[in-house]
């Protein structure tokens, strides 16, 4: 398609510039006009982004400095300065949710990267079986997380769930997965990994495909084992890709909300309340908007700190990929 246009261009360049039917020249092209047009084309997107990010963020920062209590009718929000923030760090519920979120993110992302790396390498070559495996990975990934959570609730059922049936057939006792405070976290992790590991696998597979093949041929000629090839060639060369995927997954794992709502609703005994879950609960069940806003700012700062290397890494990768930055 591009080649076709190139041919047309070269024939056109040979002729003197004259108005043509296809591209009529209406007004002369000036840098000023071009600039004005480029600004006009940017405006809608920038306006939407201001409306949907800058404005809400600023309004959230403002409300985090106020105390709201809708239980007392007619009470105006009261300015309390940083009191919401100081209260936060003495609130055991918040600190517990911070701890839960940290553990959840750490384990989920580790599992996703390790499993995704293995699966990604295994599906990188195109065969009939890997094509089927890609489809098998893609469908759970496309399923809405809220639906995935509800689906797994049936799988985890203590009386008629297939997982407990499987445990029974290998002689293990029935588990009350979602109702027990020691099993609820692993259960959530299973669903999270089932849904998100495919993303890692696809990215790793793409990274493997883009590696230079001569290295692998040389390794094969030298009689390297599959493990040696993976450990000494694939893994070191994939480091930049693994890095991108790692930070992307960390960023997203902090946002986990839907599957918690569907599977445990924060329970049993508030043991699976992530920060995201707690913010939504404080803000929309109790209407403590100021307090919830303060929480969300703490979460924002944590995610920012984690994401700064990502922004640098993505920028570098984009530049290497030829983007005109």
């Amino acid at each position: 398609m591009i080649g076709h246009l190139r041919v047309r261009r070269s024939t056109r360049l040979g002729r003197p510039a004259a108005p043509r039917d296809q591209w009529p020249v209406r007004r002369p092209l000036t840098l000023r006009r071009e600039r004005a047009l480029s600004v006009a084309m940017l405006v809608p997107a920038v306006a939407l982004l201001i409306g949907t990010s800058v404005f809400p963020i600023v309004s959230s920062l403002r409300s985090s400095l106020f105390e709201t209590n809708p239980n007392i009718p007619g009470l105006e929000p009261r300015f309390v300065g940083i009191e919401n923030y100081t209260r936060l760090f003495e609130d055991p519920v918040f600190l517990d949710s911070l701890r839960f979120t940290a553990i959840f993110v750490a384990i989920a992302v580790t599992l996703e990267i390790v499993l995704g790396l293995a699966v990604g390498v295994l599906i990188s070559r195109r065969t009939r079986m890997t094509t089927l495996a890609r489809v098998a990975l893609l469908i759970p990934f496309a399923l809405a997380p809220i639906a995935a959570g509800i689906l797994w609730k049936t799988l985890f059922s203590s009386t008629w769930g297939p997982i407990n049936w499987l445990l029974g057939t290998i002689g293990l006792p029935r588990q009350n997965f979602l109702g027990s405070s020691s099993q609820a976290l692993p259960s959530l992790l299973a669903v999270e990994v089932w849904q998100q590991m495919p993303a890692v696998a696809f990215i790793i597979a793409a990274g493997v495909v883009s590696l230079p093949t001569d290295l692998f041929r040389a390794a094969q000629a030298d009689g390297a084992s599959a493990w040696q090839t993976f450990r000494r060639i694939t893994l070191p060369l994939l480091r930049p890709v693994i890095f991108v995927v790692l930070v992307l997954r960390v960023m997203d794992a902090f946002k986990t909300y839907d599957i918690i709502v569907a599977l445990t609703n924060g329970g049993p005994a508030q043991s699976t309340e992530s920060i995201t879950f707690l913010i939504a609960k404080e803000g929309f069940r109790y209407f403590h908007t100021g307090y919830a806003a303060a929480m969300s700012w703490v979460l924002l700062v944590i995610i920012m700190i984690v994401s700064i290397p990502l922004i640098r890494g993505l920028e570098r990768a984009q530049r290497a990929g030829g983007a005109d930055l």
Partner: protein, 275 residues
């Protein structure tokens, strides 16, 4: 040795396929089982007694058609807005009319907005939409979804525009082609596949999005994920109809995801990793 070398990866691949697909199989099977076979111990793993009665029950219990319509309106609306304005912005940002520093600042900001956890935004969104009278409207939810998908579209399209040869643009400039015509008539037709991918990603996000929808919609604009979650708290669990709804929700996005399979990596990594 060579047998083991060939067999082990195949076995692992087979295991991956089974583990990934079994829950989906279970969802579809539960939606097609007659009610009496849904909650049995031991569970029924295959049956020939398939029926659509769960779907009938679902349609009788919930205004599924309305939910489907709401989800479609919101997903289409937000996708069209994000793709049109996003590709316009990406085209300008891929050219050199603006100062480099300004372009970089805009791009970094765009990336930052993607990093914001949605839950940080949802309380301010609620207040803003309430002030505008847009709570529980399609427009309100569409705007919040655009806020999330626009940055993704901009970054993706930037990558696709950057892949076009520079001479193409230069030649059009020589012919006196304005920026808009170079965008609309020359570059856009060439990045149509990329545009489709950006659109599919935006659509899937919007279709599956639960947090914003659960708080910003009520009766008139409730979407499918919210309808799905309304099953959760019920005392008498309706597993059959619930699975039927899950299947109905999954079909459109699964088809789209399969269609965009080749580009899924670019979409996931903001164009940082290409396949």
């Amino acid at each position: 040795m060579s047998l083991r070398r060939a067999l082990l990866p195949t076995l692992i691949r087979a295991a991956v396929i089974v583990v990934m697909l079994f829950p989906i199989y279970w969802l579809v099977l539960t939606s097609l089982k007659p009610g009496a076979l849904v909650q049995t111990s031991p569970p029924v793993f295959s049956t020939t007694e398939l029926t659509l009665s769960s779907f009938d029950e679902l349609l009788a219990r919930k205004p599924v058609v309305a939910f489907f319509l709401n989800s479609t309106i919101v997903a289409f609306g937000s996708t069209v807005i994000a793709v049109v304005f996003g590709s316009m912005a990406a085209f300008v940002l891929s050219k050199t009319f603006l100062a480099l520093r300004l372009r970089r600042a805009i791009l970094l900001w765009v990336l930052l907005t993607r990093i914001f956890p949605p839950v940080v935004l949802v309380i301010p969104y609620f207040t803003i939409l309430r002030d505008l009278g847009l709570v529980d409207t399609h427009v309100g939810l569409i705007l919040t979804h655009v806020g999330y998908t626009l940055p993704l579209v901009i970054w993706l399209m930037l990558g696709f525009f950057a892949e076009l040869p520079n001479e193409l643009d230069r030649a059009a400039v020589l012919d006196g082609c304005s920026l808009w015509r170079r965008f609309w008539r020359i570059s856009m037709p060439l990045v149509l596949p990329g545009l489709a991918v950006a659109a599919i990603f935006a659509f899937i996000f919007s279709w599956n999005e639960y947090l914003f929808a659960s708080i910003l919609t009520a009766e008139t604009s409730q979407t499918l994920p919210v309808a799905m979650s309304s099953f959760v708290g019920q005392l008498q669990q309706q597993w059959g109809p619930m699975s039927a709804l899950g299947v109905l929700m999954l079909i459109p996005v699964a088809v789209l995801a399969l269609a965009a399979q080749r580009y899924i990596v670019q979409g996931l990594t903001f164009g940082a990793v290409k396949e």
